[in-house]
Amino acid sequence: MSGARQLSRRESGCPSSVDDVTGGEVAENGILEVGNLRKEFGGLMALDDVSFDVKRGEILSIIGPNGAGKTTIFNLISGVLPTTRGEIRFEGGVINGLKPHVIAGLGVSRTFQNLQIFNNMTVVENVMVGRHLRSGYGMISAGLRLPGGQREENEIVKQALEHLAFVGLDSMADMGASSLPFGQQRLLEIARAMATEPTLLMLDEPGAGLNRPEKEALDDLVHRIRDRGVTVLLVEHDMAFVMGIAERIIVLDYGEKIAEGTPGEIQADPKVIAAYLGDEEIRLT
C-alpha cells in the first residue's frame, strides 16, 4: 500500500515528501507541529499564539465555542488563508506560505464545515477529482485519448469507486452529487479527501447536521480511517461525539488555547467548563 503510494506520487510529479520542499528533518513522533500561530483579520485577533503538536496516528480534536478560531486553524494549515505569524511544520518541514494544492500534495487533506461538494458533477466524479494529485495526464493526452491517459483514467475510476465503497456510497456512484442527502454529502467529502491518500486528514465538523445513527457510523468511519494509518485532526462542537472519538483534545476560546489533554482531563477542567457555560466573571478577570 505504502509502496504503491510512493510510486504514484512520484509519477504525478509532486514532491514525494516534505523534505523535497523544505529540506527539514522529520520529527520523532509529531506529524504536525503548530508553533505560536497567529491570525488577524483586520483588527480582529482570530488566533493568538496557538501552539500544539499532532502525534502520528492519533485522533486529535479541536473544540471550542463558536468563533473560537477552530476553522481558521484548518484554513491556515491547508493554506487557504495566509498566517499572520507563527509556523506550521508538517513532517518536519515548514508548510505555511505554500499554496493549498502543494500542501495537499504533501499529504494533508481536509473537509469543510459548510460543504464544498462539486454540485456540477456526479458522486464518483467528485471522488475522481480527489485522484487528481495521484495521476498526471494532461490536456493533450485527454483530448486525443492517448492510451497512457486512458490507462490512468481507468485506474482513477477504479480507485475512486474503492474510496466510495470505503464510506459506503458506492451504490450511488452515478447520481448527481447535489441529489445526495446531507449526511451522505458529508461522507462524500470524506471519500474525496481520502482519495488524495493523505497522511493527515482534517475533518471540519464532520458530525454537524447528522442524526444519531449517522454519527455512530461516522465514529466508526473515523476509526477505520485511523486504522489505515491516517492521522485525524477534527474540529467539532458536539461534546458527546468528541468525547467518544478523540484520544486527545485541544480547547480553544477566543482564539487562545485554554486546555489540552485527554477527554477525561478536559471534562474536569474548570476553564473549559467556564468557556462552554459562559462564566462572565472568569472571562473578565
Binding site: V80, H101, S109, F118, M121, T122, V129, H132, M139, G143
Partner: protein
C-alpha cells in the same frame, strides 16, 4: 453506467451523427436532388454561406463553453482573440508574404508554396495562445465581474490596435485578397469544399473538447467552477488550469479567425469589436454554457434569427435594418437567463428527463427553475 465507460462511446456516436448531418447537408448543396439546393430547404432564408459561418463560429464558441461553462471563467473579449487569428493569417499571407519577407529574402515564399497559409494558421494559434498566456496570468486572478471587465478591456484593446494599425493592419479597410486555402493544386473552393473543411475542423474540435471535459483535466476545470477552495485543497493547481483552459479557448478562437480570413478573403475590424464578443457569449449561452453539444445549435439559431431579421425586420419596423438585431439579441439573452439559464441543450435534456421520471431525477443548480418552466410549458 458512467463508471463503465459507455459515455466515451456516446461522444464518438454523437460526433458521428453530427458528421452525417453535415455530410447530408453538403451533399444536398452539391448534388441538388430534385433541383433543390440547401437554401431552398429553409425557404431561402438560411443560405449555404451561413452554414459555413456557423461552422467557423462553432469552433470559437466551443472554446467559450470550456472556459465559461466548465471552468466558470467569463470572457467578454473573445472576439479579440478571434481577430488575432484572422489578422495573422491575413497579414502573413498577403503583405508579409508579398512585400515583407520576400523583400528581405527575395523568393523566400514562392507563389506555389500552398502550405504557407496552413503554416500561418498554426502561427496564428501560437501568437494568440502566447498573447493569452501573457494576459491570462494577471487577469485570471480576477473573479466574477472583475474578470468580465478585465477581458472586456483586453478585447477592446486588441480591437483598437487592429483598427488603428494603419498600413500594417489596413485600419478600417482591413486587408483584402487573402488567398484561398489549397492542398497542392487542389483548391479548397468553391464554397461547398470549404464547408467540408470548416465542419471537419469544428467536429474535430468538439470531439477533442468533449474528451477533455470527460477527463482528469475536465474534472479539474469543473471542480474549479464547483468550488475553487475545495478544488485547491484537494490538489488542483487552480491558477494553472484556469490559464490552460483560457489559452486553449483563445487558440480555438484563433483557428476560427484564420478560417474566417480565408473564407471571407477580406479582414476588417468590424466583426471583432465588443458586439462580436457579446454575440459569441450569447451563442454560447443559448446553446448551453456547459454544453459542447449546444455550441453548433446556439450559433445556428443566432444566425437563423439574424438572417430572418435581416430579411423581414424592415417589414415590421419601417426603416429598420440588420443593425437593429442587437436589440433582439439583448432581449434574447435576458430571456435565456431567466427561463433557460443552462441553455437550450440542458432545457431539452431536462424536458426529456422530466417526462421520463416526473421530476425524480435532478441535476445541479437551477434544476427547480427548469422543472417549473417545463411544467408551465406542459
Amino acid at each position: 453506467m458512467r463508471t463503465e465507460g459507455w459515455k466515451r462511446h456516446q461522444t464518438s456516436i454523437g460526433i458521428g451523427v453530427l458528421a452525417i448531418v453535415v455530410l447530408v447537408l453538403g451533399w444536398i448543396e452539391m448534388a441538388e436532388p430534385m433541383g433543390l439546393d440547401f437554401s431552398d430547404l429553409t425557404g431561402g432564408i438560411v443560405t449555404f454561406d451561413t452554414m459555413v459561418r456557423v461552422g467557423i463560429l462553432t469552433i470559437v464558441v466551443v472554446g467559450l463553453n470550456l472556459l465559461m461553462g466548465h471552468a466558470g471563467q467569463i470572457s467578454l473579449g473573445q472576439a479579440g482573440f478571434y481577430a488575432i487569428g484572422a489578422y495573422v493569417s491575413a497579414i502573413m499571407t498577403t503583405r508579409a508574404a508579398n512585400r515583407g519577407i520576400n523583400v528581405l529574402f527575395p523568393g523566400a515564399i514562392p507563389k506555389d508554396w500552398w502550405w504557407w497559409p496552413w503554416l500561418m494558421i498554426f502561427a496564428g494559434m501560437v501568437v494568440t495562445g502566447g498573447v493569452a498566456y501573457l494576459i491570462g496570468k494577471p487577469i485570471l486572478s480576477l473573479r466574477g465581474h472583475y474578470l468580465a471587465m478585465g477581458t472586456l478591456g483586453v478585447g477592446l484593446i486588441i480591437f483598437v490596435l487592429f483598427r488603428e494599425g494603419s498600413t500594417f493592419t489596413g485600419a478600417f479597410d482591413g486587408i483584402a485578397s487573402v488567398p484561398r486555402l489549397s492542398i497542392g493544386s487542389f483548391e479548397i473552393w468553391p464554397r461547398d469544399r470549404y464547408y467540408f473543411l470548416v465542419w471537419a475542423v469544428a467536429l474535430g474540435i468538439m470531439w477533442l473538447s468533449l474528451n477533455i471535459v470527460d477527463s482528469r483535466v475536465g474534472r479539474a476545470l469543473r471542480a474549479i467552477e464547483g468550488s475553487e477552495v475545495a478544488a485547491n485543497t484537494i490538489g488542483v493547481d487552480i491558477d494553472k488550469f484556469k490559464l490552460q483552459v483560457f489559452v486553449l479557448s483563445t487558440v480555438y478562437a484563433s483557428i476560427g479567425g484564420s478560417l474566417y480570413a480565408h473564407y471571407q478573403t477580406l479582414v476588417n475590424p468590424a466583426p471583432f469589436g465588443f458586439v462580436g464578443s457579446l454575440d459569441l457569449v450569447i451563442m454560447a449561452a443559448l446553446g448551453g454554457l456547459a454544453s459542447v453539444w449546444g455550441a453548433p445549435f446556439g450559433v445556428g439559431i443566432i444566425y437563423a434569427i439574424k438572417e430572418i431579421l435581416r430579411a423581414r425586420l424592415h417589414q415590421v419596423l419601417h426603416g429598420a435594418g440588420g443593425e437593429h438585431e442587437i436589440i433582439v439579441f439583448g432581449l434574447l439573452l435576458v430571456l435565456i437567463m431567466i427561463f433557460m439559464p443552462q441553455g437550450l441543450s440542458f432545457g431539452v435534456t431536462k424536458a426529456f428527463g422530466w417526462l421520463r421520471t416526473r421530476g425524480v431525477l435532478r441535476r445541479g443548480g437551477g434544476g427547480e427553475e427548469m422543472e417549473s418552466q417545463v411544467e408551465q410549458a406542459a
